[in-house]
């Protein structure tokens, strides 16, 4: 706990110092046990930047700043993360200008980047430009004894996808989180078959980490904090000893445990979203173990936005939330209770502010 705090405070201090020049973060070491077949390592996670084109060379300044800051801070990590994941919604309306500008802002990263597709990247051209210029929509790879899988969880029924007069119209509707004309996200039968085949090759003792854009669990249908075939995907993951799902899209901290599967959300760099309970007209299923974030203060532009670095320790994950305008948080799998928890935040004398 202390070691992560010191690393965090160094990063925070360092980001304040960047203008001053040379940084020495080499004092910070992670003394994780190296026992067993799986060496410990870290990776970083940046998500939901929503780069939004205004006109000509102009992009929404606020969203640009969130991504720039995450990239700059990420580059200061020591030890270096093994790779960075971008968790989807790089663009706001899927435009080439937005994806290109987003890539430009990501380009200073000194690490390999793995990409997850978000609905804001997809519904203009059904991910054509993404597949062509950025990344396949779904894929898997192995790294230091962990099997990583990236899914495209934001597809929907063909009838919905094909009923619009243009890609712009379709994207405009899907971009509105609360637009009643939208449609629920899903992984879909074809990709579930691919997933089943992919997992068939993996021993059940291999830790599995899945990246998706939408939660592979059902939280709040009204805002698509939801994947319609979540149970079917969970069933494919159920036979493995250690499974972790990391998702973006919700722009807030959430975590959950369903059977053997740990779930963690990541923050947006662009803007935060209210917790579903703040909409009084619809039912929600926010995981009961989630301790919500404090309400955002609109007078601080970066409040309740952020990025994360993730420790992988013998196949269990700890998510360290780096929140520029808030105290950092760490949500880690506790092998004793068998679920993720934020021990520090939960025991603070000031209870988390759930209400305004």
């Amino acid at each position: 706990m202390v070691k992560t705090l010191s690393r965090r405070s160094l990063i925070r201090g360092a980001s304040a110092l960047t203008a001053g020049g040379v940084l020495d973060l080499t004092l910070v070491n992670l003394a994780f046990g190296q026992g067993g077949a799986q060496p410990d390592f870290t990776f970083a996670y940046i998500s939901d930047s929503h780069i939004q084109h205004v006109k000509g060379t102009k992009f929404v300044r606020n969203w640009d700043r969130g991504l720039k800051r995450a990239v700059a801070e990420c580059n200061l990590l020591n030890p270096k993360p093994d790779f960075v994941v971008f968790g989807g919604d790089l663009a706001q309306l899927g435009k080439k200008e937005e994806l290109d500008h987003g890539l430009e802002l990501l380009s200073p990263l000194r690490y390999d980047v793995k990409y997850v597709l978000g609905e804001h990247d997809y519904y203009l051209d059904l991910g054509e430009y993404w597949a062509d210029k950025i990344s396949p929509h779904y894929y898997s790879w192995d790294h230091k004894g962990v099997h990583f899988i990236t899914l495209n969880s934001i597809v929907t029924h063909d009838e919905w996808t094909n009923k619009w007069s243009s890609g712009e119209e379709r994207m405009g509707v899907m971009a509105g989180l609360d637009d009643p004309r939208g449609s629920p996200f899903m992984v879909g039968a074809a990709q579930r078959q691919w997933l089943a085949n992919d997992l068939a090759k993996i021993p059940k003792s291999t830790p599995v980490v899945v990246f998706s854009h939408s939660p592979l669990q059902k939280i709040f249908k009204n805002w698509n904090f939801w994947t319609d075939d979540a149970e079917e995907v969970q069933a494919l993951l159920a036979p493995f000893d250690k499974v972790t799902v990391i998702y973006g899209h919700v722009h807030q901290i959430q975590y959950n445990q369903i059977g053997n599967i740990s779930f963690h959300s990541v923050m947006a760099t662009a803007w935060p979203w209210p917790y579903p309970e703040s909409y009084s007209q619809a039912e929600n299923y926010l995981p009961v173990i989630t301790v919500p974030m404090n309400r955002a203060d609109p007078f601080h532009e970066r409040d309740a936005t952020g990025w994360q670095f993730i420790d992988v320790q013998t196949g269990n994950l700890a998510i360290n939330y780096s929140l520029p305008d808030n105290s950092p948080r760490r949500v880690a799998f506790n092998p004793e209770t068998g679920m993720p928890e934020d021990s520090e935040f939960e025991t603070r004398s000031i209870p988390p502010q759930k209400h305004f």
């Binding site: 102009k58 929404v60 805002w223 703040s278």
Partner: protein, 134 residues
Amino acid sequence: MAKSKFAAVAASIVGAWAFSASADEFTEEDLALWQAEYMAAVDVGRGVFTDPALGTNGVVCAQCHPNGSNIHPETYPKFQKQLGQVVPLWVMINWCIRNPLEGEELAADDPRMIALLAYITHERRGVALEPGKH
């Protein structure tokens, strides 16, 4: 566009009053009409709330406040630390128009402001009033 629709709504309200038979009676039709007028204002408000032309950068209120959430109209008027005084809801609406939307403030009685207030309050219907609460 939103403006002219709102003007039509206002005109029909005046029309309805003109035809009222007496001061102390109203009919089911009156109630239905008034409800329809109110819902029309709510609909215009939803349009303003999702209108990329309200500000200058294309950002819309609904991007950060889906279904008008986290606006808490039931807590106004309240003291805003950053503004140093007790303010009504429309002042905070203007704050968000000026900042995240990089736009021009609306007058308190601007039809778009009234429509925004109607939509935001409608999404919060049924929640108890708690003026001043944080």
